[in-house]
Symmetry: C2
């Protein structure tokens, strides 16, 4: 099934906001309903395909299947940009200036290689396309050349499972649920469940350093990766002969996070784990975000480490965005404090033991066990937030998320700085926002902060948001955070990324890019500034 | 104190082999005593310093302290090559063709930067020098230019401790014990204890991706690193604003393992852990290496994970090299099987719980608990193997180690292939060897293999060893292993490394090197083939 072209996911799962929420948005944030919904797909005037004839001939020759090169308007519109809120606002308005000239569906590694060589020869840019779920402009190259979307959906096989080593080799086009199903039927799990799980792909998880909701237990995706095969215009890179090595720099870590700018990932070898027998998700209440953060830090540093560890701040707890389905539910207590979801997955005995020990720590940190209901509610709604955003946009509100990470000692300052930047900028612009935050990824030495902003849209919603986003990005860097913990860089964060890693870091990446992609056809302007 | 120039460590700790061992070497391996010992330091004819006058003036200007540039023979001989067995055999014979033109002792990051700029301007190569413990030719650049050893011993400060985030920022010249002492007095430990611990430095740990004997519990050094400051001829790279990030490729992982070829590490931010209250090391016996390996794999995959996890094969168990002090002890049982050392460090309660659970697993895997004596013996002798090697060389034997890692399923084949390569080559050459092996680093998905070879020396000991080493390296690659799990690449493994990562991987590294070191003065020929 194809993703909803103008929003998120399966159109059948879309649900309008309850009237109570619409009322809340109006009363609290001054949101007024939009008069018009999204444009009609058939009405969108896609610019004519811009692929030069010679390039088309070469690309067709590089592809095996006769229908693997598509230039029809619908295919191209469906591969236009990603799923950030500005992306959605623009495509709903029928703006498709970042449309690819064609959509290519290669069938294997060799076809990807051949396509990249043809692209290099004919000056056509190529943007790898997995689930199309980028929220950082990763699918909108900065180039005046025509570009093709390299949709990897046909590379959807489980290549091999090594049960002794507990590894699996996967093709990049496998979506989260496909991948889990293939592993689950053999008794294994990857344990990678980001919010985009239902649509995002294995290749995208690797290329963008995805992090899942169970990262406390299963690790980030980049920590699961043991080997990568990468196609570039200059040939193939194969990495990963051992879990760890002292043979030079870890080239896997140069490809992970490269977002298509250094090559197209055509196979990923990952660590797999036994399918857990037991899954328990519980709600905990803390008096404040500070108290809850201290509790999370204790578990992350001294253990036992739960599988899921997530804490909402006061605002997010109050609004119940942590449990999207609960928005507008009448049952909010007077002082809800801060809600945490703590989950344990594993063998029955191990899960019980870890839960008992973790509960002891959480109680000692002032936590109050609420029980399984909030955990179950979180589990039920864990992939629903993007649907909720569509409903908010439909209702005339603006809703967007952004995220960062830092060392524990920098976290309180980072939290305050980003909140203030968002609140101040949007308030000055006349649309005071609701800013919510949660911690959903913890490490021994630090954690992530994930912010959700809801406000009225302003006259031109995209232009209205831009200064707030810039202010948040500036605040992140000034407060010592990284410009992204798991969304990535794309084109939206590129300037801040360049500040984060500095001119020499950028030059190092540009040098690698020039070596593997001398014609500069791989996702130009994504991640790495064009030299 | 300076390391013994012609061997390992503190000369006061050197101990001759017991007569019983000398007899064993003679009877078993045909080792005949050498007539001459090492040359005398004062007698070695060091080539005259080859630093051009202009370069010397520029380098002096780059350094603050008046005695920070040394050209005397002793300083230079003490910075010649590293501590592989061929290195020792050559320097004991008075061969110093890889001698640096000068030894430089910069005092801070800015002086390192200034030195590198001066080197680039005057065409002088620069080789960072920490503890001088490389066993892979990492200190012997492949160049016709004069080169200087950049000894980092004056950068020996603990820069900062962040107790909330549990991180410490260290200067690269800190040796293992200095670093531990500075952290221990504040209640923290790094937990990094490689065999070279007493002499190797923090900068070397990072540059060469060191792995310590407690890696099962504390992780490898590259897993401890959160941030790096790197000086290059083109400026400074600063990395690490968060424990994990999705902001592009992980540049830390490009510097880790770069062995001086991409820059000089001038600060390292690492994860620290509370000093353990409890330390228990126990011996276990398994009927075979296969049975022991299966037990280690179960612990590594399903837990609980001990802090130290090490298994000797039958040969190593028999000879007792796993406990160097026990060589020649009379108490060897008739069928010793395979000895494992399993250690637990941490809080008293946690240690007891992990030990109990691990014992259950080990018993279920057929292990037999021997008790603390073998564990204590291992702990007592854990840094002594290099001293033993000196004694073996003195006695006229040849002794060398090499190591690799692979996924679990490849391990048995890798073990057999490397053993056979070494045994066959040396037997054909007329010096049948004793080949021993242990696993000392385990991961969910694989483990390391560490081989020790002892034989007679043959006529020209260095030339005699070379075909065996080549055969072992070839066998490692053919059997799917990595050319190094923790010794590194240096110049000795460079050709096999190039085969391991392939031509495109090498080109990527060459491109980065050309960007940060356009004059090619950083450790030329180390790790990265000169373009």
């Amino acid at each position: 099934m194809d993703m909803l072209w103008s929003g998120w996911g399966d159109p059948a799962k879309a649900a309008p906001l309850p009237d109570s929420v619409t009322g809340l948005l109006r009363d609290l944030l001054g949101v007024t309903p939009r008069e018009s919904g999204p444009a009609d797909l058939a009405d969108i005037a896609a610019p004519a395909a811009a692929l030069p004839d010679e390039a088309r001939t070469a690309l067709r020759a590089a592809l095996g299947a006769p229908d693997a090169l598509r230039e029809d308007a619908e295919s191209r519109i469906r591969h236009t940009r990603g799923k950030s809120t500005p992306d959605l606002l623009r495509i709903r308005a029928g703006e498709v200036d970042d449309i690819p000239a064609a959509v290519l569906l290669p069938g294997d590694h060799d076809e990807v290689l051949a396509v990249l060589r043809a692209c290099a020869e004919h000056g056509v840019a190529a943007v790898p396309f997995g689930g199309g779920t980028s929220v950082v402009g990763g699918l909108a190259p900065t180039t005046k050349r025509p570009f093709v979307a390299l949709d990897l959906r046909r590379l959807d096989r489980l290549i091999a499972v090594d049960e002794v080593s507990r590894t699996a080799t996967l093709q990049p086009g496998l979506r989260g649920p496909q991948c889990e199903a293939l592993l689950n039927e053999r008794g294994w799990t990857l344990g990678h469940f980001p919010q985009s799980f239902e649509w995002a792909t294995v290749g995208g998880f690797a290329a963008a350093r995805s992090s899942g909701q169970a990262s406390a237990g299963y690790g980030r995706f980049d920590e699961m990766v043991l080997g990568l095969t990468v196609a570039t215009p200059e040939g193939t890179l194969e990495t990963g002969r051992a879990p760890r090595s002292a043979a030079g720099p870890d080239l896997r870590q140069l490809v992970l996070g490269s977002e298509g700018a250094l090559g197209v990932i055509t196979a990923v070898t990952v660590r797999i784990r036994p399918l857990p027998a037991e899954r328990i998700y519980e709600g905990w209440r803390f008096a404040s975000f500070e108290a809850g953060t201290a509790a999370l830090r204790r578990l992350a540093q001294d253990g036992p480490r739960p599988t899921v560890l997530r804490l909402s701040d006061e605002a997010e707890t109050f609004v119940g965005l942590a449990q999207p389905d609960a928005i507008g539910s009448a049952a909010l207590p007077e002082n809800p404090g801060c809600m945490a979801v703590v989950g344990y997955e594993g063998g029955a005995e191990d899960t019980a033991a870890r839960r008992a020990a973790a509960c002891e720590v959480l109680l000692a940190c002032g936590g109050e066990l609420i029980g399984e209901e909030p955990g179950d509610r979180w589990e039920h709604g864990r992939y629903n937030a993007p649907y909720l955003r569509d409903a908010l946009l439909d209702a005339g509100a603006f809703a967007e998320t952004l995220e960062t990470a830092a060392f524990w000692s920098a976290l309180p300052g980072l939290y305050t700085a980003v909140r203030s930047a968002l609140t101040d900028t949007l308030t000055e612009a006349g649309t005071p926002p609701l800013v919510m935050c949660h911690i959903s990824h913890t490490y021994e030495n630090g954690a992530s902060l994930y912010f959700t902003v809801v406000s009225a849209q302003g006259e031109d919603a995209v232009a209205h948001w831009e200064p707030a986003k810039r202010a948040a990005n500036d605040a992140i860097l000034a407060a010592g955070g990284t410009i992204s913990h798991h969304h990535g860089v794309g084109t939206d964060h590129r300037d801040w990324y360049a500040r984060e890693i500095g001119p020499l870091g950028i030059r190092m990446l540009q040098a690698v890019k020039a070596e593997v992609d001398p014609s500069g056809v791989l996702s130009p302007g994504v991640l790495i500034p064009v030299r």
